[in-house]
């Protein structure tokens, strides 16, 4: 089940079960992707990409760490609207997610 995205980057996660749910389209950095109903934002993004965003310190990407809302490693931006914690936010159809802050983003990470 190796998927390669437009940038030639493999997804990090693989599905082992529950793969007969309804499809759910979303956008990652402007490119349309497919996920499934019930996926979190983290699951949806990491099935086709290697990271959720770039790290503030060092060169590493961030891809989450705890998946239970404790580490805050998994924040992502949207084209509009608030930043979201990817591991605990259910994906919604048509979400427009960004791995880098939008140009207009004023603030600092928490």
């Amino acid at each position: 089940m190796s998927r390669v995205n437009a940038a030639g980057e493999k997804g990090r996660l693989i599905r082992l079960a529950e793969s007969d749910r309804a499809p759910l389209p979303f956008y990652l950095d402007g490119v349309e992707r497919q996920a499934m109903q019930g996926d979190t934002v983290l699951t949806a993004v990491l099935l086709s990409a290697g990271g959720l965003r770039s790290a503030e310190f060092g060169l590493e990407k961030r891809a989450g760490f705890c998946l239970m809302g404790a580490c805050q490693d998994c924040w992502m931006w949207q084209e509009d609207g608030p930043r979201i914690r990817a591991c605990s936010t259910p994906l919604k159809a048509g979400m427009r997610l960004l791995t880098d802050p939008p140009k207009t983003w004023p603030g600092e990470l928490p």
Binding site: L13, I14, A22, F65, A70
Partner: protein, 456 residues
């Protein structure tokens, strides 16, 4: 009517809610999850279809009973359930929530905290890379989303979760390359004896799971480093019990050394803490029934890491203590029965803690360039350099060295930081002191804080 607020809807929170509702109160339950269950009995989203037996294995019956109990309370409208919300602050009978609504708050007369536990993590060189997770994360990904966190996974650390997650991943078809336990076999056997005396059945089940791992499982290892490339881990380098060097290729590493109690809210609510040698962490101080302060009760893994069965008992016990303090009638026979069972759970849990210890020496030996704080990239060397300037107090080291200042608020680095401070100063962890929690206990969107500010 008296308003009792319960934070957390895992085994302890659910049992506490049922006990209070049974006495005619209408508790408010705030839950970070979308559906009650907690971490170990976490329920996937509604549209998922795997049966309970697949999700919870031998514990399917207990999981089903708890979910059913809470669903019945909801259906009968006997609790106020506030899912998808985090309590980020507490002030004089008001809990400040972050969730779907901005600036939401909840008043209470009494507070029962059932905040559970998280992975107790030790830094391993390279662990800041994307693709390194906690063991809990690997389990949540599988259980709640049906995914593996990578194509070839190494699990490392120590504790019951290490074996459990490995067995669950293998059963689901994941490629688990190695399961590396830093606890030496002799240590595990000594602790295992205490475990078996207290709960033989549970101990035997653990051994059976372990047997399924075959030659993937190695005890008494030490972890050298995670080799990483631009897309994450490439291999884990480790030494076996005889000191031979090994390299296991992988694209994902999950780490965890048993568990650490989530105590930030207990701290804000005014609980006292003691350093526990047994659990190698700071734990809240309560009486046997979970009373931590006036009107404050603690239960479950956020108080002592007794596991899900112990959490169910502790939830009931704390709720009865709360009822008794309110002058309401409780069942004293049931209370002493549960307290007796809790003592057994505690003997078992102390066996677990000694069988799968915190890797103190491994942390003390970390090379200076190792990243200690994943959030802000502070290294072990920077911390060692800070201590002579700041002195040994953990809170001063934090403000000067920025360890524990990042987004996770020290949840994943403070034990390692304390270990290094005590290495540098030759003081004990108890003397180094505890990193105090500060609100908001989880970073809140600016809006939630602004609205607090407006009214204050």
């Amino acid at each position: 009517m008296t308003r009792v607020l319960i934070v957390g809807a895992g085994p302890a929170g659910i049992r506490a809610a049922a006990e209070l509702a049974g006495a005619g109160l209408r508790p408010v339950v705030v839950d970070e999850g979308a559906r009650a269950g907690g971490q170990i009995y976490r329920r996937p989203p509604e549209m998922f279809s795997r049966p309970a037996k697949v999700l919870y294995g031998s514990e399917a019956g207990k999981a089903g009973a708890l979910h059913g109990l809470f669903d019945a309370l909801l259906a009968e409208d006997r609790v106020d359930y506030l899912p998808n919300r985090t309590v980020v602050g507490l002030s004089d009978g008001v809990a400040h929530l972050v969730g779907p609504e901005i600036g939401e708050r909840c008043t209470f007369d009494r507070l029962i905290l059932a905040t559970g536990a998280m992975d107790r993590v030790a830094p391993v060189p390279g662990w800041q890379a994307a693709g390194v997770y906690t063991l809990g994360a690997a389990q949540i990904a599988l259980k709640a989303q049906g995914v593996a966190l990578g194509r070839r996974i190494v699990l490392a650390g120590s504790g019951p979760l290490l074996t459990l997650v490995a067995a669950q991943l293998l059963k689901a078809g994941a490629d688990v390359a190695a399961v590396l336990d830093t606890a030496p076999l002799a240590t595990q056997m000594r602790g295992g004896l205490k475990m078996a005396l207290a709960r033989p059945g549970v101990t035997a089940r653990g051994l059976m799971l372990r047997a399924r791992l075959g030659r993937r499982f190695r005890a008494g290892v030490s972890l050298e480093r995670i080799e990483t490339g631009p897309s994450g881990p490439k291999a884990l380098h480790w030494y076996d019990a005889a000191g031979r060097s090994h390299t296991t290729t992988c694209d994902t590493v999950a780490l965890g050394w048993h568990l650490r109690a989530e105590t930030a809210l207990a701290d804000l609510a005014g609980s006292a803490f003691d350093w526990s040698e047994t659990w190698a962490q700071w734990l809240p101080r309560t009486d046997v029934e979970g009373r931590a302060a006036d009107g404050l009760y603690l239960a479950g893994d956020g108080l002592r890491i007794l596991g899900a069965d112990g959490a169910e008992l502790a939830g009931r016990v704390a709720a009865r203590a709360c009822l008794a303090d309110l002058g309401l009638s409780t069942d004293p026979a049931a209370q002493s029965r549960d307290l007796k069972r809790l003592r057994k759970m505690r003997r078992f849990a102390e066996g677990v803690a000694s069988a799968f210890p915190w890797p103190a020496q491994m942390v003390r030996d970390l090379p200076d360039e190792t990243v200690l704080c994943r959030c802000e990239g502070v290294t072990a060397g920077e911390l060692r350099d800070t201590v002579p300037l700041s002195g040994p107090d953990a809170n001063r080291v934090k403000s000067l060295g920025r360890v524990g200042m990042g987004r996770c608020q020290g949840r994943y680095c403070q034990l390692a930081a304390a270990e290094l401070i005590s290495e540098t100063t030759r003081l004990s962890s108890a003397e180094v002191g505890r990193l105090r929690a500060q609100p908001p206990v989880r970073p809140a969107p600016v809006a939630a804080l602004v609205s607090d500010h407006d009214e204050d």
